[in-house]
């Protein structure tokens, strides 16, 4: 694998301002993303894991330019893309595509499967006639809708959820993008279809050499698919590490709490619990503090409640934003074989 970053986010922030309420409530601001920096390396599947409202979808939408950051810069192939307009923006969209969460809503019900998949080619004026048809057929074959002739005349309502998501993937892949943002592509699907989609993404990555940002709330799925995983909490990156390292030796207390919370079954008797989550939340401090401070059982009151821990390199392929890890507390664990679910 080439280790050049394809896509890079540099201290990107996105703030949503709520309007003051009709009854005179104060307007609120929500920091959906707070100075997030990350880079996707060429040909990797990068997992962004977090709970609802953590900013993971916002991050994906910023990358495909459905939203603009208030601060920070986004680079594709070392070229800044924050202020792209017109033809340049169109060219960018050709290189960066998105797979949405809900295949029941992301496909136009009035377009046949052929029209849906050919639409990106038409918009970008790529190929025509028989050649266009051949490109659509071959991408449908690649996403496992074979023989494609059986599908091209159908409409989305005639397909199952899993098949629809395959069509959505074909639509994202047909232009041969460099980067694809997959936003919870399986959260609407059953387990057996989800597994099919995971395997398909792995296969397409190898075959089409595309870099994928996989956004999910499911750590087990991220572990299965991704080379590296970033854990995000309240718009702030807490930990970035290789998938193996993050699951086996989670360093941030929040990552540990997530792993503790996963339903476990199997030979889990010897499994270590981290107990990183407070039973009752403590009073948060008003000033700057660690985003996880209020719930963290390992926080040190003097420091964690007054300063925001920066994301710091820890070992070769790992970054953690936590003062407790900095001081090098032993966090070793050996996990047994367990089954984890969605």
């Amino acid at each position: 694998m080439n280790r050049e970053p394809v896509l890079r986010l540099e201290k990107v922030s996105r703030i949503y301002r709520g309007r003051a309420s009709l009854f005179g409530g104060r307007s609120t601001t929500v920091k959906a993303l707070n100075r997030v920096s990350l880079s996707l390396e060429d040909g990797e599947i990068f997992g962004l894991v977090g709970e609802s409202g953590s900013g993971k979808t916002t991050c994906g939408r910023l990358i495909v330019k459905l939203e603009e950051p208030q601060e920070g810069k986004v680079f594709l192939d070392a070229k800044e893309i924050t202020d792209l307009k017109g033809q340049e923006l169109k060219a960018y969209r050709r290189k960066v595509q998105m797979i949405f969460q809900d295949p029941y809503q992301s496909l136009n019900p009035q377009l046949s499967i052929f029209e849906s998949v050919a639409e990106p080619l038409i918009i970008h004026r790529e190929s025509a006639g028989a050649e266009r048809r051949e490109r659509v057929l071959s991408i449908l074959r690649a996403v496992g809708l074979a023989p494609p002739e059986d599908y091209i005349q159908r409409y989305p309502h005639q397909l199952s959820g899993g098949q629809r998501q395959r069509v959505a993937i074909a639509r994202a892949m047909v232009l041969g993008p460099e980067v694809v943002v997959a936003d919870e592509p399986t959260s609407m699907l059953d387990a057996s279809y989800s597994a099919q989609i995971y395997n398909l993404l792995l296969e397409l990555r190898d075959r089409l050499h595309v870099t994928i940002l996989f956004i999910t709330h499911n750590l087990a799925a991220a572990k299965y698919l991704c080379d590296r995983i970033a854990v995000i909490y309240r718009g702030t990156l807490m930990e970035v590490a290789s998938a193996e390292e993050l699951i086996r030796h989670p360093k941030h207390p929040y990552t540990q709490a997530l792993i503790d919370a996963l339903p476990k079954f199997g030979h889990c008797e010897g499994i270590r619990r981290y107990d990183a989550l407070l039973e009752r939340e403590r009073e948060g401090s008003d000033g700057p503090c660690c985003p996880f401070f209020a719930r963290c059982a390992k926080a040190r009151l003097e420091r964690c409640g007054r300063e925001v821990p920066p994301l710091q390199a820890f070992g070769s392929d790992c970054q953690v934003a936590c003062f407790c890890v900095e001081s090098g507390e032993g966090m070793e664990t050996e996990a047994g074989q367990c089954y984890f679910g969605v």
Partner: protein, 327 residues
Amino acid sequence: MALLSVERLSVGYQTGKGYLKAVENVSFTLEEGRSLGFVGESGCGKTTLGMAIMGLLPENASITSGRVVFAGEDLLRKSEEEMRGIRWKEMAMIFQAAMNALNPVHRVQDQIAEAIMTHDPQRGREETLHRVEELFDLVGLPRDRMRDYPHQYSGGMKQRAIIAMALSCNPRLIIADEPTTALDVIVQHRILEKTKSLQGQLKFGMIFISHDISVVAEVCDDIGIMYAGQLVECGPIEEVFSAPRHPYTAALFSSFPSLTGERRGLNPIPGETPNLIRPPSGCRFCERCPGAESACRLESPEWTEITPRHRVMCPGCRGNSPSPERG
């Protein structure tokens, strides 16, 4: 005596495209104080099964055969009036998307009080609110939030309030339909732990419906696997997990990614679920089954008993060795 026994229950829906057999020939028993989890993919009939037991099926549904025996009485022979007396008092349900089950314009305490007073009109308001306080303690909600409205609660708190409401009349049976599906993992974990400890404490029987095997494994004693309207395997959790006998059970297990251990390939189930308006003859899984034989397509499979508590509906299982042990 079993708390609940369902015998050869079949339920169908009249739809625009024809008669859809949503649940067919499902039989199981639930002992007092035990919990049974039903797992399956969407459309397998697990929610219909729960609704049929509660007597809450929609208009276009009909029960074509079978019995639902609850504490010795056949519920299907009860009038709507009689069912209303049993529902909530004897058996309660925690619905899917329970967070939307609370009325937004009433205080949480009043909604729970209403459930209690409907079934026990003699009880005074003072006494009822005292009971609500007890319930709040029980499910781990702070008492000072009793007078709040639902929108002031987080998702996890709403779910706790719904559980408090389900427990309000001390039911003997609780049917929980995907109670944690919309919640984040950390909240889900706390709710599941609470549910499990409450069950141990109050000794109610529980039917737990979920699409997520690991959630069922966490809270239940027994597991039932449903596929295309049929119950295909049923038994104690440990036994089913360590040696799944039905090919669908094994396939479903290997569709879930594992967090620890080696990164192994997932084996998704090929193909699609069958159309339940015109279900295939013979075994419903045979189209997607790796070990299907020609006989599977012809005759409907019968139950095979593996151990007294573990049974499976697969003709191929007779005399076969179990699937390779997982772990």
